[in-house]
Symmetry: C2
Subunit: 433 residues, 2 copies
């Protein structure tokens, strides 16, 4: 083999391998929410904070502070490229062209990530973003993917070349076996939701490429906008918990608090329509959400199940539709909570044909290296790292979730919210990712 | 293109890229001389010193001290591998098997490079090796190739990936054009002598591979023993100036001093024979060496021309042979002083057919990147760096050379030697490499 001298010299002298290559290297729903926020709440002061829910893992020990700052600073230096904005303006998403308004695209051209605050304390990385919602919201995904990939790199650096080779061979074999399992099922609608907790950007790109090549129409796209652009895939995603969380935090009385979750739907359907009308009912508990939902919510395209037992939650939605005289066969359910291939198979067996079932496959698609460390270390076990809104307009922000293990906010605030929303259907389940 | 994840992770985390990979990564003549020294002068205290003859270049500015120490320490950690010793014992060199005695091979199995002394002063790297001759002698080539390659790496690190790509493309094109020129000549005997001042080990390997593949029988081998073993090439080389330099330093009177150069020949032909009997007459001036050489020296196989104008020196040797009744057509002349392709062509035109002419092509084969720096910097201009004996048994050591620019030793000692050896045929010429 002839040595590639230029490559070799460059590899040994490279300045840095930037984790975030583009402001589009984020989830599509962040862009839809960004336009929503820009329209309705652009100047609202909102704080996002990084939270490691896997507290037994010390992130501070695995992530070099100087390198973290370099990567965060690099992300701050990024701007949307002209070609990216042209694509956002001209591409069709969910079958619709022109989802992003010209004025919004114009505003994006001046966008950059705002400042961050970083402290290493108690073995953890305290990272938060304070500023207006229309800027801080965009830190969520890059902050998570940077921290996750730096953890990956630290752990890779402890392996020999042989170990690395074997490690990736294992991961490829496992990915292939997952793909084969899905191929066996036939018609499916699986998409990549694994940006924030990916092993690395390049591994996500490999996984997405393999899925696209091997699963054909059963692979419906990726939440990663940069990969969607780069590889001509569908960009997938609609909205997330931060919308009801912030809107609820702005309310002072019980009624306002309870209605905030529906105010989000109202504003969302003013802003978007059609296939983008996918509800996320679990912010303060799905049971109360559905029970009290306005009648027009029945007309929405579908629902995303993100914290409740998905078998129960799917049936709950079907029952709710039928009780309101709607045909489940015309509706979508998108499962997105810690899925692995067996969950997809079992859920599809239960719901396939009864409702349009889709799967947003996250961490266990793009970061499943469990058990592959050649010396048995747990360095690559996924951790549950989130970047959540913790304050809005100076008020604390709360998420209850259908899984009490995923609740965020102070104990007092959680208690206050529980008095308003009740505890119907809320369970405690282990949080893997 | 699919990313090689293991390779990429390894490239970004590699501990070090060791310059010296084997104790065989040295010139073949060092091994022949080592056996000679081991037989006759094993315990003689001898100091080798690194000397940068291109004083306008500050080596200290281009070579990081810590990295230099790491590379030198790594070289000290090397031992001859069993397979290497088996090959030395069993391979035939210059058509003869068993050149290296079993007792010597046995001694080599315990060999390692001795300590070094390193100081950074006056912008230069003061590096020397003090100890017994049978150990310090082996530092010469690795010390030079380490310092040269570290200089290369520092300068490569200042180039972008595009610049690196272009830089090596230029170098390959130039190598190809040199090879084409030599191919046009037909029958030739060119070998690689470029280990000590190579751009890098891998580049030397590339160059040697290209020469072997393209020049067929006109490429006679390499002085690099490791490459000879690795690629089944002939190992080329016999002896160097350090032998007469040290033997002369041991002598106190004029007669002993003048005869030391012939004492080397006597001992050498006791130790080796046949094709290995190649004289190096220029240590104290070729003219006096030939004029006073014993009659049996005429029977030697050939001569190496290393500092005199090669056209004059070749004719001088032919005249000398004819005056002594020997047939030049049966003798070898090996040119090895700063050759480039045009020199080889012109010398072959003059001497081809009259004598067996051979070419030991050094720096301008393995380190010719002149003029390729994409921003015009002179970072890659070759420098004249040597590692010479400076002291033997506590006495100063001198080389006069046919080129007074290549003389080494104190001014007083050089003057003393010049009184003994005269100045016949000695000129001053620029020293490029």
């Amino acid at each position: 083999m002839i040595v590639n001298f230029a490559q070799r010299a460059h590899n040994h002298n490279f300045e840095a391998d930037w984790i975030v290559r583009s402001l589009l290297d984020t989830d599509f729903y962040k862009l839809l929410m960004l336009q929503f926020i820009w329209k309705h709440y652009a100047r609202l002061p909102v704080t996002f904070s990084l939270i490691n829910r896997t507290t037994r893992i010390s992130l501070a020990a695995q992530i070099d502070e100087a390198e973290l700052r370099r990567q965060l600073d690099h992300a701050r230096s990024l701007r949307f490229r002209r070609s990216e904005l042209t694509w956002l303006a001209g591409n069709s998403f969910y079958g619709r062209r022109g989802i992003f308004e010209p004025a919004f695209i114009d505003w994006l051209s001046g966008f950059h990530l705002p400042e961050y605050r970083l402290d290493y304390r108690d073995g953890q990385v305290a990272l938060c973003f304070e500023g207006v919602w229309s800027e801080t919201t965009m830190w969520e995904v890059p902050a998570l993917s940077i921290v996750n990939e730096l953890r990956t790199r630290t752990n890779l650096a402890r392996m020999s070349e042989f170990e690395l080779d074997l490690f990736y061979a294992h991961a490829k074999a496992k990915l292939w076996s997952k793909i084969n399992t899905l191929r066996g099922i036939g018609d499916l609608a699986v998409s990549d939701f694994g940006t924030r907790r990916r092993h690395s950007f390049l591994w996500q790109e490999y996984v997405v490429g393999a899925m696209a090549a091997e699963l054909g129409k059963s692979f419906t796209g990726t939440s990663n906008v940069f990969l969607a652009l780069k590889h001509d895939l569908e960009a997938i995603g609609t909205n997330a918990h931060e919308l009801p969380m912030v809107l609820a935090a702005l309310e002072s009385d019980r009624g306002g608090l309870r209605d905030a979750q529906y105010r989000v739907l109202e504003l969302w359907q003013q802003t978007y329509g059609g296939a983008l009308l996918v509800m996320l009912p679990d912010t303060f508990g799905s049971a109360q959400f559905l029970a009290n939902a306005p009648s027009w919510a029945t007309d929405w395209t579908g629902i995303r199940i993100d914290s409740k037992d998905p078998f129960l939650a799917g049936e709950e939605y079907i029952d709710w539709l039928q009780a309101r005289g709607a045909d489940p066969g015309t509706k979508r359910v998108l499962f997105s909570d810690g899925l692995d291939v067996d969950d997809i198979v079992a859920l599809h067996r239960q719901f396939g044909g009864r409702i349009k079932d889709g799967y947003g496959w996250g961490t266990l698609l793009t970061n499943d290296f469990r058990g592959f460390h050649p010396r048995g270390a747990s360095d690559f076990e996924p951790i549950s790292l989130v970047c959540k809104v913790t304050e809005a307009a100076g008020r604390p922000v709360v998420k209850l979730s259908d899984n009490s293990g995923k609740a965020t906010g102070s104990a007092a605030e959680i208690a206050r919210y529980r008095k308003v929303f009740g505890q119907a259907g809320i369970a405690r389940a282990p949080v893997l990712v």
